[in-house]
Symmetry: C2
Subunit: 231 residues, 2 copies
């Protein structure tokens, strides 16, 4: 009745390449061991929480540890605690190799993060043998219940976009209204009317036109905008 | 580095009495022991998750166990895992008396629930020596970080009311538009214009006028409405 739990955090990091949403994945490996690339699964970056550490603190530490990504927006969105979260042989073997108590039930706290892909090149470390962006539309079978975690993170992102300014974390510093509309369409998974969208943008606090236009494009260069977080 | 965690759920149950929001609290006691009422704190109903149990399942079991409240709306909203969640002497003593591993760090998953107060009379059991409604505006110092958990539950309820139909869980089967407006005002913590509110109600899916009016009131009896969840 009173077996203990291990506690982890898992970070769903969304990036935007101007065309589609991507998710940052790591290849689960063993530190310092060279092995067949498909021996273990790909996963979202996550690990165990230390005994004296807060959850948000752990999320930042672990993400930095595995992917060298620091100081980004992170939002807790859900705990995942199904008793059968670990069910595949590959996952069990990896746990056995890397965890001091591989038999323990692990409850994980899901965080999501948003990154402008232009600002970050994946750099794996610790037990991550690789780190790379993967299009949301083309996810492989991930470790544990990580496919569910990514799906839940996306649903939360959709809800939050409807009422918060989180979306600007995904854009470069200077962006066009076309990019802003495309990003809304991708996250909300529906087409938006261009005229209505531009009307709505006028009401969005913090979207500021710059005295600059796009450079190096073949079509007519579009006006650039930036986002200034309201104080 | 690898101490284990205990995992609990805590349920913030909101009730509405027609005038204000209330929260369901239990008095922490020891099963079968009669003791001074202020020996331990009041708390929201929560307890440890069993080793083989899902989180939602645990939330329902524990709420039923402590308060005899069954089959209600429960929504996970946040994990609370600050390393210093247990800091008061009273709380430590209670844990020592009731938990097999009182020294273990406990991470708790917060759920909130909504109940029409007319439908439920608190019935304590297990280690709850009492169970009672307490106005949100008049909460005592609660056990552990439960004051923070209630506050966070209220914030989540506010967000959800803005986009979901959860609010109807708090109303009796038949209600007036005055009651519906008052409940919105309390949750959103602002006054609403009566005419605009009634216009908005017309757009709310599922709010259906009944062929009935209030009975037993001194003022002019108001039209009654009910809520039919859209399929």
């Amino acid at each position: 009745m009173n077996a203990a739990f291990d506690l982890s955090v898992d970070n769903v990091v969304f990036g935007f390449d101007g065309e589609q949403l991507q998710v940052l994945l790591i290849r689960q490996g063993l530190p310092g061991v060279d092995m067949a690339p498909d021996r273990f699964h790909m996963a979202v970056p996550g690990d165990l929480v230390f005994p004296e550490e807060g959850l948000d603190q752990a999320a930042h530490r672990i993400l930095s540890n595995l992917t060298s990504l620091d100081g980004i927006y992170l939002k807790q969105f859900r705990a995942f605690g199904a008793p059968d979260r670990v069910f595949e042989e590959k996952d069990r073997e990896w746990l056995t190799r890397i965890r001091p108590h591989p038999e323990r039930r692990v409850v994980t706290i899901g965080y999501y993060s948003l990154v402008a892909m232009a600002d970050y090149t994946p750099r794996p470390s610790s037990f991550a043998s690789r780190a790379e962006w993967c299009p949301l539309s083309d996810l492989p079978r991930l470790a544990f219940d990580h496919n569910d975690i990514v799906k839940a993170g996306l649903l939360q992102l959709r809800e939050d976009v409807a009422r918060e300014s989180v979306i600007f974390e995904l854009l470069p510093e200077k962006f066009t209204l076309g990019q802003l509309q495309r990003l809304h369409e991708i996250i909300l998974d529906k087409d938006l009317d261009k005229r209505n969208f531009r009307k709505n943008v006028k009401r969005m606090e913090g979207v500021v036109p710059l005295d600059e236009k796009q450079e190096g494009v073949l079509h007519k260069p579009a006006q650039l905008y930036t986002y200034v977080r309201p104080q």
